[in-house]
Amino acid sequence: MWRWLHPYAKPEATYHLLQKLLPWFVALTLVTLVTGVIWGLAFAPGDYQQGDSYRIIFLHVPSAIFSMGAYMGMAIMGAVALIWQIKTAEWSIPAIAPVGAALTVVALLTGAIWGKPMWGTWWVWDARLTSELILLFLYVGVMALYFAFDDARTGAKAAAILSLVGVINLPIIHFSVEWWNTLHQGATITKFEQPSIATSMLIPLLICLAGFAFLTVSLVMMRLKNEILRHELHRPWAQQRLEQD
């Protein structure tokens, strides 16, 4: 496996790999996201209690899950950057953080919009909501720390350490609905038993989940490509690449 992974420590090789993979991911994102969202918003059956307003879960659940997924990815990249000192791993931290922060904001906003008619309030200080808000603060902290240093590599290492420290928040978010008696409902699909959601709603939700996964990966790939180019501008291959485009 090492022989296979080794070339990608070189930014140029990673750039070309991203260049090759990106169109596929963008295509997959478009297909799954459009199918999932249209199916979920227009064709899935309404809920017997909530009517049509439950449909926001097709945006809320995927964005919430991948706000945590993106953080995990960022922390893994941080560990890789600290252990093997790979530059592309360092650059992927600023590539992932804004995407993850945006997903967190989407999850919080859609949750608030759903909460107003259902719970009668935009916001409650519930364990799940609070821990998701802390996740947003952590993203902000990682980004602020990354850009605070004159030397970019030191900033990347500091941000990597902070993102590793913040991983402690992920299990807290996930299990908050079980550990505390919260207003937010418990897990319906991310558990090992039979999902407690009707199949006719589950299938579009799963497609939306795949769509958000591809969307997250595509956005991160685009940002990482830009980061690589920005740092490698002085190299001949990057200048050639820019002249071609």
């Binding site: 600290l82 902290g141 605070a148 240093f149 030397d151 500091a158 902070l162 420290v165 913040g166 807290i172």
Partner: protein
């Protein structure tokens, strides 16, 4: 020169930092005065009614404690970083994660322990009932080591940043939130005469976890800045 044992080095470092702090008393006292003043502001701002003060006292004291602990952090490693002491610590045969625990301990002795000692005064100022006071003292005793340990991470990560104090707050406050939640819940339960063992156990667990694991992150942060 004879080789010092790990314990001797730890005690030497502790004494050295305490001696430095004793020579610059205002540095250690300022955060405490700041905390007292913040606590004084609330009765003046909200109104001196004992009911409402007793109700919000745990929150006020803990928020003031969090803010005060942020104040002293910049000095935790900054002077040692500038005069090269940290480099010497990195060169010791003992792991850096071990030696920084002495610095964390000094920080706790100068910022956490005085809070516990001050807590009766604070409780009196905010007319907290007696059964709430001992819970407050216990939460401060169990929770402030975590504040020092987490604070050291923030201080180590921002060593090279010029004027990093606002950045330190930005990084640390999200990490402090769980402590605040459990500590204030414990004091509130105690004031109402309910059991507080659950919250105190969680606070103790957070402290044990952070005091054992945070030195690793602190050491990584210091090495990153020194090299």
């Amino acid at each position: 020169m004879s080789q010092l044992s790990s314990r001797q080095i730890w005690v030497t470092l502790l004494k050295r930092d305490l001696r430095i702090a004793a020579r610059r008393r205002s540095d250690a006292l300022n955060p405490l005065l700041f905390l007292l003043m913040v606590v004084t502001l609330f009765p003046l701002g909200i109104g001196p009614g004992p009911d409402i003060l007793a109700r919000i006292a745990p929150g006020i004291i803990w928020v003031a404690a969090l803010l005060a602990s942020l104040l002293g952090l910049e000095r935790l490693f900054r002077d040692d970083f500038q005069d090269g002491t940290l480099e010497q610590l990195c060169l010791l045969p003992q792991p850096l994660a071990f030696t920084v625990t002495a610095k964390i301990a000094v920080h706790w002795l100068l910022s956490g322990l005085p809070l516990v000692i001050l807590s009766p005064v604070l409780a009196l100022l905010l007319s907290l009932p007696l059964q709430g006071w001992w819970a407050l003292a216990l939460t401060l005793l169990l929770g402030t080591p975590a504040l020092s340990a987490l604070g050291a991470i923030g201080a180590a990560l921002t060593l090279q940043v010029q004027r990093g104090s606002s950045l330190v707050s930005l990084i640390l406050i999200p990490l402090f939130i769980p402590l605040l939640i459990f500590a204030t819940a414990a004091v509130e339960n105690a004031s109402m005469g309910l059991a507080v063992h659950g919250q105190l156990a969680i606070l103790a667990a957070i402290s044990v976890l952070t005091v054992t694991l945070a030195p690793l992150a602190v050491a990584a942060g210091i090495r990153m800045s020194v090299n």
